[in-house]
């Protein structure tokens, strides 16, 4: 009875928070999930103006304390998504379209974003479809806001480049071979300098030849920050990424079995991953289920948790999302248990200090 009452109390207090509040709010959950995926009990998270200003067992900041029954986790980050956008992110009129912005094709009022927030994903990196050699820039989207539409965090993140068969197969408005695509990249760089690729280019690759070529090109240009998304069968070429951080598509549970050996080998080669959902019709839970599978297959729960929190943020060059730490944005999700526990459910989601989703109380009693 007492539990039920305090549960109701926690739900009634949670939505009262808003970033307009000047005074700090102290969230006191049963436990928080640290950056390494471990549960820490007895810690409190102090938020003000949409940010986390202190994480401590006994915070010095004064404020209203809110007792939360559940586990507080950082919101998940989808490394590369095309959610809510469908075909509006596949520009076919040219094969070199570095000026496009994914945010211009984003359906920010699509229900899909809300669904992500309900499944614990608070940030998604929307990317143009990598079907052009240079496809344009991605956008970092906060999946929900007070106006119940998704909100743009950064309208121009990284340049999406790709050396996939789909991006070099045309021959009419673009190159028809990998060699041709590389020529386009070289030309773009020769014309506009390394800035043509942005300071932090992301390459979608699917084979060893393309990967080696891009790595050589990046070496020539002295760009150390290039990141790679591994499509196709990464088993054939992931050996080129030992000790690196790469993007990997999240998959539905059905396909995981045949990926198990690959993931085990990637983990052994010390390759860190950041999961992304890519296509719009993926299940909303696929980020979390991929991390759970990674944990089970590689027996490395830390890497698994990082693959959907810190790693995608690092790939984007950001330290203000994907972690519960001082200075980070208050993107927090209250779970009924550790988020990588199969039984865990989302009780509430907060983005930038604002409660954007609460589970229906009746279903949680």
């Amino acid at each position: 009875m007492l539990t039920t009452l305090s549960l109701i109390a926690s739900f009634t207090l949670f939505p009262l928070l808003s970033p307009a509040q000047q005074s700090a709010t102290i969230l006191a959950p049963d436990a928080i999930v640290a950056a390494d995926g471990q549960l820490l009990e007895g810690y409190k998270v102090v938020i003000a103006d949409g940010k986390i200003i202190e994480v401590a067992a006994d915070p010095r900041t004064a404020g209203v304390e809110v007792r939360l029954h559940g586990v507080l986790s950082p919101g998940f980050v989808d490394a590369f998504a095309q959610l809510g956008a469908e075909i509006f992110l596949t520009e076919q009129s040219d094969k070199v379209t570095p000026g496009l912005l994914a945010v211009d094709g984003a359906r920010l009022d699509s229900d899909a974003w809300q669904e992500l927030a309900k499944h614990g994903v608070t940030s998604a990196h929307l990317v143009p479809d990598p079907t052009n050699v240079l496809s344009g820039s991605g956008a970092l989207i906060a999946t929900a806001s007070e106006a119940s539409v998704a909100k743009v965090t950064d309208g121009q993140t990284v340049q999406i480049a790709s050396l996939l068969s789909s991006s070099v197969s045309d021959g009419r408005v673009g190159p028809s071979s990998l060699a041709g695509a590389l020529e386009v990249l070289h030309e773009s760089v020769a014309t506009h300098g390394a800035r043509a690729l942005g300071s932090l280019p992301w390459f979608f690759v699917e084979d060893a030849a393309g990967t080696r070529s891009v790595k050589t090109l990046m070496g020539d240009l002295n760009i150390n920050s290039a990141k790679f998304i591994l499509l196709g069968d990464p088993g054939e070429y992931a050996g080129l990424f030992t000790d690196e951080l790469v993007g990997l598509p999240a998959f539905g549970m059905g396909e995981l079995a045949r990926r198990a050996e690959l993931w085990r080998r990637m983990s052994k080669a010390n390759i860190s991953v950041a999961f992304g959902t890519r296509m719009s019709n993926i299940e909303y839970n696929s980020l979390r289920s991929s991390a759970m599978a990674w944990s089970r297959i590689t027996r490395d729960p830390q890497a698994a948790f990082e693959s959907i929190t810190v790693n995608p943020a690092t790939m984007l060059g950001r330290d203000d999302i994907g972690r519960i730490a001082k200075g980070a944005r208050a993107d927090l999700v209250l779970w009924s248990a550790h988020p990588l526990d199969a039984q865990a459910r989302v009780l509430a989601t907060m983005i930038a200090g604002e409660t954007v989703y609460r589970a229906d109380i009746s279903t949680n009693n």
């Binding site: 992110l89 994914a102 945010v103 211009d104 920010l108 344009g136 106006a147």
Partner: protein, 473 residues
């Protein structure tokens, strides 16, 4: 001799003075006056005073409003005005290819619309210059028309049309991994591509402005127009039906610093009304969206109905002529799926040629009839437009109808009237001459049989520039 007599006639017309005594006058700015004498001289309103005049005309129980100003319309826009050869046709003037004799202007007039902004179509990204017209007083081309029975041009460069959203790329998509062989392949097929065209052209214009003064670049009519928009000499009107397209418009305004921008056909902006109110960007809504029929509440014209009654002329196996079951209580055709399909079949000019309403049907599907009330509540400055509503004779979505509908869905009555009179006049840059009953303003006046927002009221007398151009007494 002929010339001088013509001059005398014209002068006599212009010097014409008249006075009206009216029970209720809606001034256009939201205020109402009772027992008013309105004096008209030289086509202008010269005095608005309390009381009655000796030689004045009057209609018992009539309400007077300013002539309605349509903030956004496609009257007289047809296939001839649609340029698709380039994505930016910034310097094309719609007025050069507008059908000033189109029946739409007459229909609009009969519904009380005396002035309108006419927009270029939305099939390319930067569509060109829209114009301001009065719905009467132009030179009629047909020998069978009454004198003045055509639209009159007020301004051929009222605003620059920029289209965001699906319209410019509509039909350009191909299957995943497949490529078009048609000319549309060179065009944008995504919203991203559409926005890139806007940005590319304005970046070009910025560069052009720098090089032009030192004579390093050849004159470009298109870029001159964009430069005028960058300076603020020209209003930029961005069509953005969906909320995220309106957000894109706000981003573009920030990027290029357009001093004057209006978001038009903003059917879904209630979702981001606070953001728009914060940015102080004016909005034009409309046409009224009818969610039950998934379409604009507009009936087919009598000619279209007659055409539809001859199924033999169209090859359709499943064709059914409209029976009585499709007519509502007032004898008008219900816009069921059936009627919509019929419109597609019998009236392709509304669907394909201007390409106007097809995109709206999908993009505006998130709209609500309470849109005006919601925008008003959020403090957004906005006006209403009819789009193609006046194209047909059964103007169920005419401007006054939209105001009535907005009132039914929660908008204040006086505000509703100002949204089709003084506010659109301001948004269209005519706030000093149109849309209000005030000394010094154009004598464009409507005498209604009752309260204009009462569905049974009709315009009894329409006055444009002091002339009675329609009299239904």
């Amino acid at each position: 001799m002929i010339f001088s007599s013509l001059l005398i006639t014209t002068t006599a017309l212009l010097m014409q003075q008249s006075q009206w005594t009216v029970d209720t006058v809606h001034l256009g700015d939201g205020q109402v006056m009772r027992d008013v004498l309105v004096t008209i001289n030289d086509g202008k309103i010269t005095a608005v005073t309390q009381g009655a005049g000796d030689a004045s005309q009057s209609i018992a129980g009539a309400h007077m409003t300013p002539g309605l100003v349509d903030a956004y319309s496609y009257m007289g826009v047809d296939g001839a005005t649609l340029e698709e050869s380039r994505e930016s046709t910034a310097s094309l003037k719609l007025s050069n290819s507008l059908q000033f004799d189109a029946p739409a202007f007459g229909y609009a007039l009969s519904e009380g619309v005396t002035a309108a902004y006419v927009s270029p179509a939305s099939m390319n990204v930067i569509g060109g210059l829209g114009c301001m017209v009065k719905t009467h007083g132009g030179q009629a081309a047909s020998l069978f028309s009454e004198e003045g029975d055509a639209a009159r041009l007020l301004d051929d460069s009222a605003a620059l049309k920029v289209t965001l959203g699906g319209d410019p790329s509509r039909g350009n998509q191909t299957g995943r991994g497949k490529w078009t062989t048609s000319y549309t392949a060179r065009r944008p097929n995504t919203r991203m591509g559409t926005v890139w065209v806007v940005r590319r052209e304005f970046y070009r214009a910025l560069e052009y402005v720098e090089l032009r003064d030192s004579g390093q670049v050849a004159y470009s009519a298109d870029l001159e127009v964009l430069a005028a928009a960058l300076r603020g000499d020209l209003l930029v009107r961005v069509q953005a039906r969906e909320a995220h397209d309106a957000e894109t418009a706000l981003r573009l305004q920030e990027e290029f610093g357009w001093p004057r921008m209006v978001i038009e056909e903003a059917t879904n902006t209630h979702k981001i009304s606070k953001m728009i109110a914060r940015e102080h960007v004016a909005v034009v809504t409309g046409p009224a969206y009818d969610s039950s029929s998934r379409a604009i509440a507009r009936g087919p014209s009598s000619a279209e109905l007659a055409f539809a009654a001859e199924p033999g002329q169209i090859c359709c196996e499943d064709y059914h002529a409209p029976g009585e079951e499709h007519l509502n209580e007032s004898g008008k055709l219900e816009l069921s799926d059936f009627a919509l399909n019929m419109l597609v079949v019998v009236a392709p000019r509304y669907e394909a040629a201007p390409g106007l309403s097809r995109g709206r049907r999908s993009e505006a599907s998130g709209s609500t009839p309470a849109l005006p009330a919601l925008l008003s509540e959020a403090g957004v400055k906005f006006a209403m437009g009819s789009a193609e509503a006046h194209d047909s004779v059964l103007t169920e979505s005419s401007l006054i109808y939209q105001a009535r509908r907005a009132v039914r869905w929660g908008l204040d009555k006086d505000i509703a009237l100002s949204l089709i009179t003084s506010v659109p006049a301001q948004i269209c840059g005519r706030g000093d001459s149109l849309g209000r009953i005030k000394a010094g303003f154009d004598a464009d006046l409507i005498l209604w049989s009752g309260d204009p927002l009462d569905p049974s009221s009709i315009p009894l007398v329409v006055i444009i520039d002091g002339q009675v151009v329609a009299d239904n007494r």
